[in-house]
């Protein structure tokens, strides 16, 4: 900048490691260390949670201890480097995809500007290509001939504690949303690179509490909240009472009922935390409306799977309860509620990990006769598919005017959109339950949807600023439809979204509600024998 005073303007006030000195980076990225300070990292896992998980059969979570990312000494095992390199070697051998992803990137940069973390921070290490490079540089150095001979010249670098800290910083500044993968000409799934980084870190006892505690709860009681069966039941019963107060209809739900046609599994946040509660009320009303023969399970009481954010062994173990419970109860198939990463696990991994579910039948709706051939293998149908089919076959009595208070837009949750292609069903439902809804700009929806910024276990309040940064691209698109079309409701099909988008809106776009699509269905349903109060705000109305 040619103006001398201007050049001093920022520098003269704050010197030091701030990003904001107006200067072009002078150091090579490899020479910029990760610095941990309050607000830029999620809290480390509690010792007792790591100990508990490590004590479980088939799980490996070593090196439980008191430590802090802010400390110089992370109390790593003495042979930590050997453990990491051996772990990487094992994974390169086990997962062919990882080997390919390490080798085939040509650093074209197509992914670089597609990551919401990069777009919100301007930190180059949040460019997916560079985030992957954090691992790839080690791979090159220790696993390729070029790297072994030429080292840094070939893009390799030695594994050091500094590199490990950098891995921790940036593998938890990725929500595994896979938007970057959509743009990669080679189809590199950068989310899987992040998954590998996190797996490797767990080998030396480096993980975050917001993932490991829900995961250990889930292993113990079946759900992230640690709810025991009686509490889970109580909560659903509470919701049924609320429905009765609002609509005069007493829903018929059951728990752990053997011989039911369908087992219903949804994220526990739906029966527990605001605003997911209203979505759960929507499910209860819908199933009552069509007289579905279904049961909840107080054991498979969690659709979400935080194992996905740790390592494949824990993911497999936590997922296993779905089929186990379906088998125990003798149901024909499973319906799953609105959740994001749950569907990635179901759609992409469940069959391989815990299938084949040959004791179940290919899902066929007893109400419409439709066979869900897309779920022929997993035997598990998404609630939006199920609902859209009911609407298409004219099985629902819907009154859109009951959503007159809603002017909606729809956020495609990353995993349903990109990991299972569930894109048109929620839109079809919206067409039939609200008078009017609008799309956000094209490059922020469907396969190109922007993440809420807090997925993969980053939905924790100590990193609120970081979450607001990474959620900026999503919030920015929502603001556009608020300004242009007076939108007041952001609908979605993901439990984590319902929690995180609420905070995101409260910061960026105050006054914009967040809801599940099933809540809007519940609002619009005309129930037999109803004695409905004036519900100006649908199921959220205080009566």
């Amino acid at each position: 900048m040619a103006v001398p005073k201007l050049a001093q303007l920022s520098k003269s006030v704050v010197q030091g490691p701030s990003l904001a000195t107006g200067a072009i980076p002078t150091k090579d990225w490899m020479d910029v260390p990760a610095i941990f300070k309050p607000g830029n990292y999620a809290y480390q896992a509690k010792q007792e949670k790591v100990e508990y998980l490590n004590s479980q059969k088939g799980l490996h979570f070593p090196n439980a201890r008191e430590w802090s990312p802010e400390d110089e000494d992370w109390k790593l095992p003495e042979n930590w480097k050997e453990i990491i390199l051996k772990g990487l070697a094992e994974r390169l051998d086990k997962f062919r995809s990882l080997k390919i992803f390490m080798d085939c990137c040509v650093r074209c940069g197509a992914c670089a500007d597609k990551c919401h973390f990069f777009l919100g921070t301007g930190d180059p290490k949040n460019m997916p290509v560079l985030r992957a490079e954090l691992l790839r540089s080690i791979y090159r150095n220790d696993f390729t001939l070029g790297g072994k001979l030429l080292g840094k010249m070939a893009g390799g670098r030695e594994m050091t504690v500094g590199v490990l800290k950098e891995w921790f910083m940036y593998s938890y500044q990725c929500t595994e949303c896979r938007r970057c993968s959509v743009f990669c000409p080679y189809g590199i799934d950068t989310a899987e690179v992040t998954m590998m980084l996190r797996e490797l870190l767990h080998l030396v006892g480096v993980g975050i509490n917001w993932i490991l505690e829900p995961a250990s709860n889930s292993n113990r009681t079946g759900n992230h909240m640690g709810l025991q069966p009686h509490t889970f039941k109580d909560n659903v019963d509470f919701l049924a009472d609320d429905i009765e107060n609002l609509t005069g209809v007493r829903v018929n739900h059951s728990f752990n009922r053997k011989g039911a046609e369908v087992l219903f599994i949804t994220p526990s946040a739906d029966v527990f935390a605001e605003p997911g509660l209203y979505t759960a009320m929507g499910y209860l009303l819908l199933f009552e409306h069509i007289g579905l023969d279904y049961t909840w399970s107080t054991y498979a009481s969690e659709g979400g799977n935080f194992g996905l954010f740790t390592n494949n062994e824990l993911m497999k173990k936590l997922n296993a309860k779905m089929y186990a419970e379906a088998k125990r109860l003798g149901v024909k198939y499973i319906i799953g509620g609105e959740c994001g990463h749950m569907w990635r696990v179901i759609h992409q991994y469940m069959d391989t990990m815990n299938g084949p579910a040959d004791f179940l039948e290919v899902p066929k709706s007893s109400i419409t006769g439709t066979t869900f051939k897309n779920a022929a293998s997993t035997k598990m149908v998404h609630i939006s598919e199920f609902t859209a089919d009911l609407i298409k076959n004219g099985k629902l009595k819907l009154d859109k005017s009951r959503n007159a208070h809603v002017k909606a837009t729809f956020h495609d949750s990353c995993n349903p959109a990109r990991a299972m292609g569930l894109i048109d069903e929620p839109r079809y439902i919206l067409d039939h339950v609200v008078d009017d809804w609008v799309e956000m700009p094209e490059n922020t929806i469907r396969e190109q949807t922007f993440c809420c910024g807090s997925g993969t276990g980053l939905n924790t309040d100590e990193i609120m600023e970081l979450r607001m940064r990474s959620g900026l691209p999503r919030a920015n698109a929502v603001k556009h439809v608020i300004d242009k079309h007076d939108v007041n409701t952001l609908s979605c099909v993901c439990a984590i979204d319902r929690a995180t988008l609420t905070s995101l809106m409260n910061y960026w776009n105050p006054g914009c509600n967040v809801c599940g699509v099933s809540e809007l269905v519940g609002n619009a349903l005309v129930m037999d024998g109803e004695n409905r109060q004036e519900l100006d705000e649908g199921l959220r109305t205080l009566v």
């Binding site: 900048m1 201007l6 301007g122 930190d123 935390a273 920015n476």
Partner: protein, 183 residues
Amino acid sequence: MKLDQALKNQREKIVDQWVNYTLSTYESSSFFKKETDKFANPVGGNTREALSALFDLLAKNADPQEFVVPLEQIMRIRAIQEFAASVAVAPIHAVKHITREILAKDKEMRPLVAELYDFEFAVDLAVLAAFDLYMQCRERLYQVRIQEIKTGNYILTDSKCPSNATTMLKTNIQQSIQTVENH
């Protein structure tokens, strides 16, 4: 030439430099400067939009109340990024120096530099307003954090007995909703 005419003529050049300077405060800023689609590039797009609007207001000596909308657009972003407060606000100041420099470089416009007092005073007011907005955004951030804690997410990790907490929460929820709505 009159000052207002000069500012109008030089608008594009000044705003370009101003946006460029502001975006240079990001470590990796070439994409932020280059991409014009606001949805593909929220930081760059909003910065350009906000500073363009703000410049027009400054140039026409508008009511400082009107600065709030464009300032909020930019400060809401900078308030949650990894900037010291001074650095978050500093770019608003920059337009003074840029304008002065551009006018001074041109022989015909050079005498107008002496007339910049009102314009620069308007910038001073904008900087002060930006600081208020920065603080409001920080406050909002803390409110959001408190609100999230109230709605029950914390029970995932910070409750000794989730089962008890559930019952408690049930009674607290309506209160929380009310708080959000009032907020």
